[in-house]
């Protein structure tokens, strides 16, 4: 019983991790059709924001939940205005530009901070479940991921800003025709997607550590989750993270992390072969 509970928590942790790293990318790709290859480096910047500000004495929760998303969100807005804005509708060009940005960020952060792992202490201790111990921070991450995706759903589904964003995603010209400045909507969307990446990086910093190349490790899984999920931001991310996270973590338990990651890729390949538009291209087609 205790073992089953621990396994369930670990499966949920993997799903939560995929939700956290993929949501920002899903917002930007799903709503703007921009593949932000620098998404992993945005997470890395969120991690470094937490490392730096906690070293300066800032409370770790303020650093993770406020400063990391704020700093990276503002950086995302600057990137949108300087680079992305000029590349809308040019998916390959925007992909190459954000790839260049990711290389620049890795190089810049390496020069400034060095290529060493920076750590932040985990804010909680462990929780005993029978003879096992589970980090309370793991439970917090699961809760944070659920709150994270629920907030995106509620915002898109029930707020005026969310309605404008969904309309802009479907037909930017008509939204302009009704008096909405679609450039502002895109800028805000990119900023919010970047802020989500910053928050994800901040949340993961205490358990994974922070290093300039960490984005490259995360972007692959995030990208696969978004593509497998399809166009719907929330339903796509949830369904893909649920399937891929559960299966890969189960295989990790049975055979180790290398086989777990390989299984994640294999399942994604099968899903995309069966559902080329992603899960929400066939199922949950009316979802947000």
């Amino acid at each position: 019983m205790d073992f089953s509970l621990v396994v369930a928590i670990e499966l949920l942790r993997e799903v939560a991790g995929l939700i956290l790293i993929a949501t920002g990318l899903a917002v930007i790709f799903g709503m703007m059709r921009v593949i932000n290859i620098a998404h992993g480096e945005f997470m890395m910047l969120g991690g470094y924001t937490v490392v730096l500000t906690t070293k300066l004495g800032v409370n770790i929760w303020v650093a993770i939940l406020i400063l990391a998303p704020l700093a990276v969100g503002l950086f995302g807005i600057i990137v949108e205005r300087l680079i992305i804005r000029h590349l809308y509708g040019r998916i390959i060009d925007s992909l190459l530009a954000t790839w260049g940005l990711s290389l620049f960020l890795i190089g810049f952060v390496t020069v400034v901070f060095g290529n060493t792992v920076e750590g932040v202490s985990t804010p909680f201790s462990g929780l005993a479940i029978g003879q096992y111990t589970v980090a309370i921070y793991t439970l917090f991450l699961i809760f944070a991921a659920m709150a994270f995706i629920a907030s995106v759903y509620l915002t898109l589904r029930y707020t005026k800003a969310g309605l404008i964003a969904r309309a802009t995603m479907q037909n930017p010209d008509m939204v302009e025709c009704l008096g909405v400045n679609s450039k502002i909507v895109y800028m805000a969307t990119f900023g919010i997607g970047a802020a989500f990446a910053g928050l994800a990086g901040g949340l993961l910093a205490p358990i994974s550590g922070v290093v300039p190349g960490m984005g490259a490790l995360l972007i692959g899984k995030a990208f696969i989750t978004v593509v497998t999920g399809g166009a719907a931001v929330v339903a796509g991310t949830l369904s893909a993270a649920g399937i891929l996270g559960t299966i890969s973590q189960a295989v990790t338990f049975a055979s180790g992390p290398v086989f777990g990651d390989a299984t994640l890729l294999f399942v994604a390949l099968i899903l995309l072969r069966l559902l080329p538009q992603g899960i929400t291209g066939r199922i949950f087609t009316r979802s947000v």
């Binding site: 005026k160 309605l163 404008i164 969904r166 309309a167 479907q170 037909n171 010209d173 008509m174 939204v175 302009e176 025709c177 009704l178 008096g179 909405v180 400045n181 679609s182 009316r286």
Partner: protein, 235 residues
């Protein structure tokens, strides 16, 4: 002073010129028609006035202000709106959400939706249905209602009867007449349906090969055979 005054307007898609010389004026409260064959530049003219097409010369004055270089949303905030060819409703939003976007575009009151539903009672039972699931005629009504939710003073209507069943064409025609009379709307209508345009417009321009400078006299507009002969197509 004309509400809309266009002088020597030129427009192009990339390097391909489409509009060569557009001269027209529209007074406040007028219902003006534009007739022309397929491919003569009618839709491009509508989209150029709204700011979607790159204009390469000339002037567009709206409310006595030069707007040729203004972005589309600024024109919309001045009171201009477009019901485009093909409707372009938001297919994955419900009917109510489509109308709400129309209101929110200019931060208007949601009461406007109820007003529009009185004009278009056909939409009331469809409020929870996705826009993409409506019939062509229902989508056309939704597109017009959404535009009106935006509280425009000047509407560009691009072939609203295209692919729409006759009963809905009559409904649209009746509502447009009523709205224009009650709310002093100014409307420019591009059409190939002569009966529809004759039932609504007080003046009619013709456009041919990207040139619009000819107004058909009102007495000739009433003679649909003469108009058909002039344009080279039948009613």
């Amino acid at each position: 002073m004309a509400l809309l005054e266009i002088q020597d307007l030129k427009a192009a898609y990339g390097h391909v010129p489409i509009l060569h010389k557009i001269d027209m004026h529209v007074e406040q409260g007028e219902f003006v028609g534009v007739l022309g064959h397929n491919g003569m530049g009618k839709t491009t003219l509508m989209r150029a006035i709204m700011g979607f097409v790159t204009t390469t010369g000339g002037n567009i004055k709206f409310q006595d202000k030069e707007i040729r270089r203004l972005p589309t949303y600024r024109r919309a905030r001045m009171g201009m709106s477009l019901v485009p060819q093909g409707r372009e409703i938001f297919p994955n939003l419900t009917v109510l959400e489509n109308l709400t976007v129309g209101v929110l575009g200019k931060k208007g009151s949601l009461d406007r939706i109820d007003e529009m539903l009185e004009f278009f009672p056909r939409l009331s039972p469809l409020l929870d249905r996705r826009g993409g699931a409506l019939s062509g005629g229902e989508q056309q009504i939704l597109a017009i209602a959404r535009c009106l939710c935006n509280h425009p003073s000047f509407i560009l209507l691009d072939e609203p009867t295209e692919g729409v069943q006759p009963s809905i064409i009559h409904e649209i025609s009746d509502v447009l007449k009523e709205l224009q009379a009650k709310q002093n709307l100014t409307i420019v209508l591009v059409e190939q349906n002569l009966d529809f345009i004759l039932g609504l417009a007080s003046r009619v321009y013709t456009i041919s090969r990207g040139v619009l400078d000819t107004e058909i006299p009102l007495e000739n507009i009433k003679d649909s055979a003469m108009v058909a002969e002039y344009l080279g197509f039948g009613t």
